[in-house]
Amino acid sequence: MKIAVCVKQVPDPEARLRVGADGAWIDEEGVAFVLNESDEYAVEEALRIAERTGGEVIAFGLGPERTREALRKVLALGASRAVLLSDPALLGGDALATGRALAAAIRQEGADLVLTGSASSDLGYAATGSVIAGELGWPHAWLVMGVELAEDRRSVRITREMEGGMNELSAVVLPAVIQVQAGINHPRYASLKGIMAAKKKEIREVAAAELGVDAGRLGRAGSRLETVSVALPVSGREVEWIAGDAAAVAAALVTKLEQEAKVLR
């Protein structure tokens, strides 16, 4: 089976973020970027399915040049090659524009199954995978916590998370797009051998003009959303800060828990 997996690079969740000069996004200077969390799980799931079926995994990444690092990591984990969509004409899009570009690139490669993460931790549209499916005319499923390929390889049985601690058990016909939720598996670490091998694997760049999609429907130009500004959230409730060394903080907290929260007996 030929499995496509789409990955995004996002700011490290531990990073301290500052609003950038244009006020419309963060200042990326000095921020570390990592593979998006649910994408890591999607990569692992793709590798497992490929191993079971004797297939191959092809990684797709859309984002600025630094996305190459994320693809290199996926190659080190075991993908056989990668496709990078870093053409400025493809960047800055909403989920519809981004999904359109990825779908076009996947169509050129051909795939039996596409895996994506369930949501990116930066923009969080949680839609890129389903847009890819829509573009390709395939079924999809979002928030998947279990994937099992049918014997005849014509469909997958999936376990899909619902609210309230329930799962939906269903089947979708292949080819399909599966949007993987974090926690579905335990992602492997890259081996030294894998890291070395990745250096020789191909990362093919695809330009916007090669996708066969009207330029007005790609990237920022094709996006229906425009971020005007970003800012720290404002809240109604003002937190009461407790400062000092650990012992002083502990003593102050005990007093709060005893006298105000009234939870100490």
């Binding site: 799980y41 989920a95 609210e163 799962n167 058990l169 425009e226 907290l253």
Partner: protein
């Protein structure tokens, strides 16, 4: 003149879902702001009782789209049922609750309609004659102001709790049954059943004190002081999702939109950043203590008491202080 604002809602056990009432409240508010009308679309099967509820709301119309094939959600069925309605009436905005179900099909609906897609809004406001939406980004660390560009309907999903359900304006709504064009369509998914996700063995909803840990705890081997704190407080141990995904604590202790909803007298959030999916599960707590080494973490926005520091230093000191107190010090 703006097209109407629609709210797409569903029922559960014969009542409109709370998230649906929140969506209607938002549609009414947005319609007032734009000088247009608010309307509702009720989707599913067996909708008589929920339809009665809609009749008592201030809506220019309420469409009831009822069909046995809509009894169980499928993306193919829901998209097929909604496409002809939106195409015919051209609402300016179609609002949905930001539920897992909506997220599953909303993008497909947007594509079928060539509509805009704006997921997870938490507020809107009118600036210079246009609507600006607020949505959390970067795990809630920042809020983005977003405008829509281009022509045509925009689909928007609204984060739970952003528009209180008790804001629904009462009135009367003409109810209309609308045919659902779902006979013979590809449902895109064969739903075989449902199962419990494996929680349930631990009921955190009754706990008076909850000590919750996030990814900031740094590993399973570092949980001992936190477990001791939970014991000293007579509380339950809970976790954010990444802690469970990493296998440090079992799924049955997860709090949040895909875990349990809790409302203790005291919630201690240790090394938890405060993403919206976590907050929806614990914002009902009476008091919240947050300990996080990042003073700008969103968890502090809902905390009663905040400590900007390392949990691995504070927690042992707190345990010590609690033991001294219990020892009659």
């Amino acid at each position: 003149m703006n097209g109407p604002v629609w709210a797409v809602v569903q029922q559960k056990d014969g009542r409109l879902q709370r998230s649906g009432r929140e969506t209607i409240a938002a549609a009414q508010a947005l319609a007032r702001e734009l000088g247009t009308s608010a309307e509702a679309v009720l989707l599913g099967d067996g909708l008589a009782a929920a339809g009665e509820e809609l009749k008592g709301m201030a809506l220019a119309g309420a469409r009831v789209v009822e069909h046995p094939r809509l009894a169980t959600y499928t993306p193919g069925g829901y998209v097929a049922a909604l496409v002809p309605l939106v195409r015919e009436e051209r609402p300016a905005y179609v609002l949905f609750p930001h539920t897992y179900q909506t997220v599953d099909f909303m993008a497909r609906l947007a594509q079928a309609l060539d509509a805009g897609l704006l997921p997870e809004a938490i507020a809107f406001r009118r600036v210079d004659g246009e609507v600006r939406w607020t949505r959390p980004v970067l795990g809630g660390k920042l809020h983005a102001q977003v405008r829509t560009v281009g022509e045509g309907t925009v689909l928007v999903s609204l984060q739970s709790g952003a528009f209180p359900a008790d804001g629904v304006e009462a009135g009367s709504a003409p109810l209309r049954q609308v045919a659902a064009a779902v006979d013979g369509v590809d449902l895109q998914r064969e739903v075989r059943g449902f199962e419990s996700a494996g929680g349930g063995a631990v009921d955190l909803s009754k706990a008076e004190v909850i000590v919750a840990v996030g990814r900031g705890v740094g590993g399973q081997e570092k949980l001992a002081p936190v477990e001791e704190l939970a014991r000293l407080l007579g509380g339950e141990l809970a976790a954010s999702r990444p802690v469970v995904d990493s296998g440090w604590l079992p799924r049955e202790r997860q709090v949040g939109s895909s875990g349990q909803t809790v409302a203790p007298k005291l919630y201690l959030a240790l090394g938890i950043s405060g993403a919206i999916q976590h907050l929806v599960g614990m914002k009902g707590a009476t008091a919240v203590v947050a300990i996080n080494k990042d003073a700008s973490a969103p968890i502090f926005k809902i905390a009663t008491w905040g400590v900007a520091g390392d949990l691995h230093e504070i927690v042992p000191a707190l345990n010590q202080a609690l033991k001294e107190r219990a020892g009659g010090a």
